[in-house]
Amino acid sequence: MRDFDLYAHTEQVNELLARYGVKFGIYKNNEFREQLFPFDAIPRVIEKADFEYLERGLKQRVIALNLFIRDIYGEKKIVRDKVVPEEFIYASSGYLAQCEGVMPPRGVYTHIAGIDLVQAKDGGWYILEDNLRVPSGASYPVIARELCRRSSPKTFEDIGVEDNRNYAALLKWTMDYVNTGGHNVILTPGRYNAAYFEHSFLAEQTGAHLVSGRELTVEGDHLYFIDYSGRKERIGAVYRRISDEYLDPMNFNKESLIGIPHIYDIYRKGNVALLNAPGNGVADDKGIYYFVPKMIKYYLGEDAILNNAPTYLPFYKEDMDYVLEHFDRLVLKDVAEAGGYGVVFADKMTKREKEDFLVLLKNEPRRFIAQEVIDFRDIDIMEDGERVPRKADLRAFVLMGEEPVVWKSGLTRFSRNPDSFIVNSSQGGGFKDTWVLSR
């Protein structure tokens, strides 16, 4: 690989990323700021055979998760058969009673799944988290690839990397598959959302219209976009980048000013597709994560191809005993948190913090999961002209049409802090492109 060319132009690529507004927003001290997402040109490289293995495992997982959501809001066989305790369903903040009995267009719930994985030092892959609500991040490697191909064309001449610039086409395919008749739109909470760049970029790339809630209206059982002249255009699919609770003030949070009144009523009637389906949060809860291998076995009769990180549920006495005994070597996660928040490494706690945490854990065992700390395989980044190892994860994207399709790339996020496992952009992490080799 002519990798020197690739790294030599990192600065220019980052300048171009700035030029195209590749940023994310954060709120700090009640002030909104847009920050650049630092890009490192050394890619994560996944061999063809390794990716084929990941692809099989990811498809299997997403099919099972889709079946799980359908079951939970339908017959609840998995609960009746005591594979998943009902406490973990109804106590989950992602469970929405309003979704009971509702079947989305073509039965698809998990249109766009972002599955977070890490590779251990022994080369094995572990699933860290399933994101089935509004996973973001696919646009970053797409635009980074475009710019790297410009800055280092020779690198790409003979390396045999799968082209990842088809993400928008895949997304459009997904939207078209469930579209109930009319235009596709991307619904954004607005430019002060952390992922606004991605919303606008994907709208441009897919040809969907980027809309805010006030530009859409429900009339006579259908959803319409109102243009400047008052003309109504029917909408058939909404890739919504707002949370369930803000989607419809008539059905969810009454205070929501960014949703569309009654959109959920017409969704219930099958007159518009919502991507991803409301209520998916019940399946990507960190507590439910523990049960995913069991649901794969239950619904598909197969063993999970991809492993979870070894996880314990203090909810079960046996697991609580284990957690208390091995506390210092575990990482504890609050199931209600996301974005790298609510994650604590026991060995980093002070004596006092540990005592307080154990009291909390015993009082609210359902609130936490505990995991063994996986020793990630480090990935090199360039820092001050030198290659240095850093922790990194991979967010793989699985898009669902008639069949699930795994996008041949992914977002690799890395920690810029050598002592940290937290890779989230909101906590100062950077990103890399993910190359899947085609031969």
């Binding site: 700035a18 030029r19 195209y20 430019r191 970029f201 441009e204 219209h209 006030r214 243009d227 400047y228």
Partner: protein, 222 residues
């Protein structure tokens, strides 16, 4: 999808207006800055009066820094550029990433100029990027409606500024002619009587600049 909302229509219009305001006031600022060096040391008071902005500046130096670069001064060139950016950034799928990038670049260049010891030289890059934005807008944006709304915003703003500065009839006539010839090629709803008045006013022997400003400011329907 080839249709456009009322909100985006207004944002395109204001993108045109603010980009023009930045371009024209940056040029005026550079000229006044030069004159204030040795010709009209207190010329900034006159500058403010002519542009109808409050003279909140305490000295020539204060004006030179704050009018150009102070984000807290709502009349500054910087504030107007941020307003252009605020409109552009939510129009990516209407105007495209490439045109949007030039507004983004203008903001970066303004931030660099702010820190420079020779801000006037750096300011040139800001106006270069505004010009590039207009050029690429014309070249890349497929929708004639979208292109024309931006241009109408530009024309309205330019007539407004020229009228406030009591510029020559030739300048005003040229801009009014461009406005009148283009506005019906957009989806904008406007007051026809205002447009006719603009046409009449720029032809009058003695231009009533105040009425002209009012006519352009209230041209569009709410």
């Amino acid at each position: 999808m080839g249709i456009i909302s009322v909100e985006h229509t207004y944002r395109l219009y204001w993108l045109g207006r603010y980009s023009e305001r930045v371009y024209t006031t940056a040029g005026l600022y550079a000229k006044s800055f030069d004159e204030m060096l040795d010709l009209h040391v207190d010329g900034y008071a006159d500058f403010c009066r002519r542009l109808d902005i409050p003279n909140i500046y305490t000295s020539k130096e204060d004006f030179c820094r704050r009018y150009c670069f102070d984000g807290a001064d709502e009349n500054s060139i910087y504030s107007n550029l941020l307003r252009a950016y605020d409109n552009a950034v939510v129009l990516r799928e209407e105007i495209g990433s490439e045109p949007l990038a030039y507004i983004q670049l203008a903001v970066y260049e303004m931030n660099k100029a702010k820190l420079s010891e020779a801000p006037l030289i750096e300011l040139q890059r800001v106006t270069d990027n505004i010009l590039a934005f207009w050029g690429i807008t014309d070249d890349l944006i497929e929708s004639e409606n979208v292109r024309n709304i931006i241009k109408i915003g530009k024309r309205v703003e330019r007539i407004d500024l020229l009228a406030r500065l009591h510029m020559s009839r030739e300048d005003l006539r040229r801009e009014a002619c461009r406005l009148i010839g283009r506005i019906d090629r957009t989806c904008l709803s406007y007051h026809k009587e205002n447009l006719e008045e603009i046409g009449r006013l720029v032809e009058a022997e003695e231009i009533d600049y105040y009425r002209l400003v009012v006519a352009v400011e209230t041209l569009l329907e709410d």
